[in-house]
């Protein structure tokens, strides 16, 4: 194709994207209602895409990303190989001495957040009376900052350090790890130590959606509610001891292996039971995460992948020691178990791809009812279980434009208390959006991002136990350099 042809295609695509953006905005504002204004949090974006690698290797973003930050199979293999192409040019000694693998990413945007039943002060019963009110707010904003630095220290020694901030520039370490790659020359032997994202096939750090509602996967972070109007449970002392998200970066040691072509991937990790928090914040337990997947070619349709994962964990339920009524970090005991497992499929039909996931969760009755293990369980308390599903569809018209749709559902199969309504805590999340990349280069990335997401939680309103609906709209510029 001639360069003029390319420009013509770009022009057409640009026109199509503009029409879609306009249509999307129209739909958004048809759905939107905006009676009042208050304050809901700005989206927290922690995602990975590193133009530093594109600059190092001189390859366009689209080589490693189907649409950044979502990885392509080539990008996944590059990551699995310790950020190495394997052509004996990966070590920093082959770069200009001034090269420093640094990337920052931020998003500036307009957003609208709405929740139909938020806990607020009740003007009819001051000063302590509480009630529920609908809050809707909108305005211009910016995200937190991700400051990635990653790459190779030498051949087969890779690292990743990600200081990340919220939108007030309050920093923490989102990821910190070093990895010894291809030990004994085998791609099946890679050891990583530090704080890292679990080897989730569906990476939350590479999620394509950015709103408060859909910036994370609901299935990855779901924890069952205790009972209507009493969401935290009777054991307030345990609140915060058990916080877990499969999408949260965890701290530990991971073994990962893969075939040369990355069709087969397996990993196992031993992790501190503290949901990625620094220091001895809770207890001294250890968890395990296991994942395996296999890709196969299906005619002209593309590379399909299926996989399974399981997280087996434990969490403390009370502190052995307290000081001024506050638990002493690292002395959490009375560990009780929980697990998450699931199956995942990534199906490609040329430009259309669909990710499907089945998710299952189980919590100990103590964790489910927030009861310290040195106290008797509340009468009738049971171990809650639930199932979840995810359907995420992308239409990758070309490297510059991707349409996104996702539906997640979570269904309780056993409530903590039999007296709870059967559907108490069930969740549905619907998201759709598009990202348009006006240029694809090996130096930087920029995307027009449009998204609408809505979440419904059954019986989850904080006081009355009614359905809670939260929606979010985000239109913005997502950029990385």
């Amino acid at each position: 194709m001639s360069f003029c042809g390319q420009r013509a295609v770009k022009k057409r695509v640009s026109g199509v994207a503009s029409c879609m953006l306009f249509g999307f905005l129209l739909v958004v504002f048809l759905f939107a209602d905006s009676p009042s204004a208050s304050a809901l949090p700005a989206p927290s974006i922690k995602v990975n895409a590193l133009p530093a690698f594109a600059r190092k290797y001189g390859m366009p973003c689209s080589s490693c990303h189907e649409a950044w930050p979502k990885l392509s199979p080539f990008g996944q293999a590059f990551k699995d190989n310790g950020y190495q192409m394997g052509n004996d040019r990966d070590a920093p000694i082959f770069q200009q001495p001034a090269y420093w693998p640094v990337t920052f990413r931020m998003t500036t945007f307009w957003h609208r957040e709405s929740q139909n039943r938020t806990q607020v002060d009740d003007p009819a019963n001051p000063p302590l009376g509480q009630t529920e009110g609908k809050i809707t707010t909108h305005g211009f904003d910016w995200s937190g900052l991700d400051f990635h630095t990653a790459g190779t220290l030498a051949k087969n020694y890779s690292f990743y350090v990600l200081p990340a901030s919220d939108n007030t520039a309050s920093f923490h370490f989102e990821a910190v790890w070093a990895r010894v790659d291809n030990i004994l020359g085998s791609s099946w032997l890679n050891i990583k130590l530090g704080k890292f994202e679990l080897d989730n096939l569906l990476s939350e750090k590479r999620i394509l959606t950015l709103t408060n509602v859909a910036g994370t996967y609901a299935n990855y972070h779901f924890q069952p509610l205790v009972s209507p109007g009493n969401l935290a449970g009777p054991g307030a002392v345990t609140e915060g001891l058990y916080t877990f998200g499969l999408g949260d970066n965890q701290v530990g040691l991971e073994w990962m292996g893969h075939s040369k072509d990355d069709r087969t991937r397996v990993s196992a990790a031993v992790l501190s039971s503290k949901d990625g928090q620094p220091g001895p914040v809770t207890g001294r337990g250890y968890n395990g995460f296991f994942a395996a997947s296999r890709a196969f070619q299906l005619g002209r349709l593309g590379l399909q992948r299926i996989g399974a994962f399981a997280y087996i964990g434990q969490a403390p339920t009370f502190f052995q020691f307290t000081q001024a009524q506050v638990g002493v970090g690292g002395t959490g005991i009375g560990n009780k178990g929980f697990y998450r497992d699931g199956l995942i499929g990534m199906w490609y039909f040329n430009k259309l791809d669909v990710t499907t996931m089945f998710f299952h969760g189980w919590d100990s009755a103590f964790l489910g009812s927030n009861t310290p293990a040195n106290q008797p369980l509340p009468i009738g308390a049971r171990a809650p279980t639930w199932n979840g599903g995810l359907f995420e569809t992308h239409y990758n018209l070309n490297p510059q434009l991707i349409l996104i749709n996702r539906y997640e559902l979570i269904r309780m199969s056993r409530q903590v208390f039999a007296t709870n309504p059967e559907n108490f805590g069930n969740e549905d999340v619907l998201t759709f959006g598009l990202r348009y990349y006006p240029f694809i280069s090996s130096r930087a990335g920029f995307a027009y991002h449009s998204e609408y997401a809505i979440l419904r939680q059954r019986g989850a309103s904080p006081i009355n136990g009614l359905n809670l609906t939260t929606s979010s709209v985000l239109l913005g510029f997502d950029f990385a350099f």
């Binding site: 689209s62 080589s63 080539f74 293999a77 004996d88 040019r89 030498a154 490297p399 090996s442």
Partner: protein, 290 residues
């Protein structure tokens, strides 16, 4: 008269058929690729090219992508259609399989990575598209695949004979006496783009530009690396001599374990030579082979 008419109409038919059929036949070479059971198509290949390849190889396939100026080994110019890694004689086009092999393998010590993660179909499609950049694919056919005879048994004599050939054929002028790519001519060499090019350093690695096996090494000096100063030796040495040279060249890879190196090290002469070439016991811990 009627006979003349029939003849004329037949002639017209032939002309019309030839007008449409021959270009179709010629362009079939350029419009598709055939690798095993996979048939590559230009349309899909174009999409893949503009996702993965254009940054280095350029919109026109001429190797002038936006990263071209920053790469010290220039990306392949598909318009020139001169390819290093072939199974065909020097000066001829490679086979579709040769191009796919380069995609799977990548080109060591360059920015061209391995595309092993793509599907077989993707690679076939890419090859089909890459061939549209050069008119050579319209006019020429790929050369015949050279015959690679079975590898003879490895012996000390074959290594020694290979060593003699290395001197006799003046391989050392470019590759250096120890195969480190530092021969007296090395600094003067340029490729077909007039870019400086360094001869292969055997001591530094195990992978060659066009493969890893003895079979690949045999092919390299029987086909030559077109576009580089590395010529074809097909008309210069016999196949059995070529295998002896293969066996010797393997012993120059002093940091790579191989049967040839092990056998050579078992002789007094070989052990002395290899030990003199090796840099061992350094306290740097560096994985970079000097």
């Amino acid at each position: 008269m009627s006979l003349m008419k029939i003849t004329k109409s037949r002639m017209l038919g032939i002309v019309i058929f030839a007008t449409f059929a021959f270009p179709l036949a010629a362009s079939a070479q350029q419009g598709e690729s055939h690798i095993g059971k996979y048939t590559g198509h230009v349309g899909t290949g174009r999409q893949l090219y503009f996702r993965y390849c254009w940054g280095c190889h350029g919109f026109r396939g001429d190797g002038n992508g936006e990263n071209g100026p920053y790469l010290n080994i220039l990306p392949r110019n598909f318009v020139a259609a001169t390819y290093k890694c072939r199974s065909t004689p020097t000066g001829t086009l490679p086979t579709d399989q040769d191009l796919v092999d380069s995609l799977v393998r990548g080109l060591n010590n360059s920015n061209m990575p391995s595309w092993i993660t793509l599907t077989d179909q993707n690679r076939a499609d890419l090859v089909a598209f890459i061939k549209t950049f050069s008119p050579r694919w319209k006019t020429d056919k790929p050369g015949d695949v050279i015959n690679v005879p079975a590898e003879p048994a490895l012996t000390v004599d074959s290594i020694k004979h290979g060593k003699e050939l290395f001197t006799k054929l003046e391989c050392w002028k470019c590759h250096g006496a120890e195969g480190r790519g530092d021969g007296p001519s090395a600094s003067t060499l340029t490729d077909s783009n007039d870019q400086p090019i360094r001869p292969y350093n055997f001591a530094a690695g195990s992978r060659f530009k066009c493969g890893t096996s003895n079979h690949d090494l045999y092919k390299i000096f029987m086909t030559g690396l077109d576009g580089t100063p590395m010529p074809s030796f097909a008309d210069v040495i016999k196949p059995e001599d070529a295998w002896d040279l293969v066996h010797y060249l393997r012993t120059l890879q002093v940091t790579h374990k191989s049967p040839e190196l092990a056998l050579w090290m078992s002789t007094k002469e070989g052990a002395e030579i290899v030990n003199a070439q090796r840099i061992t016991g350094t306290p740097t811990g560096s994985g970079i082979k000097q």
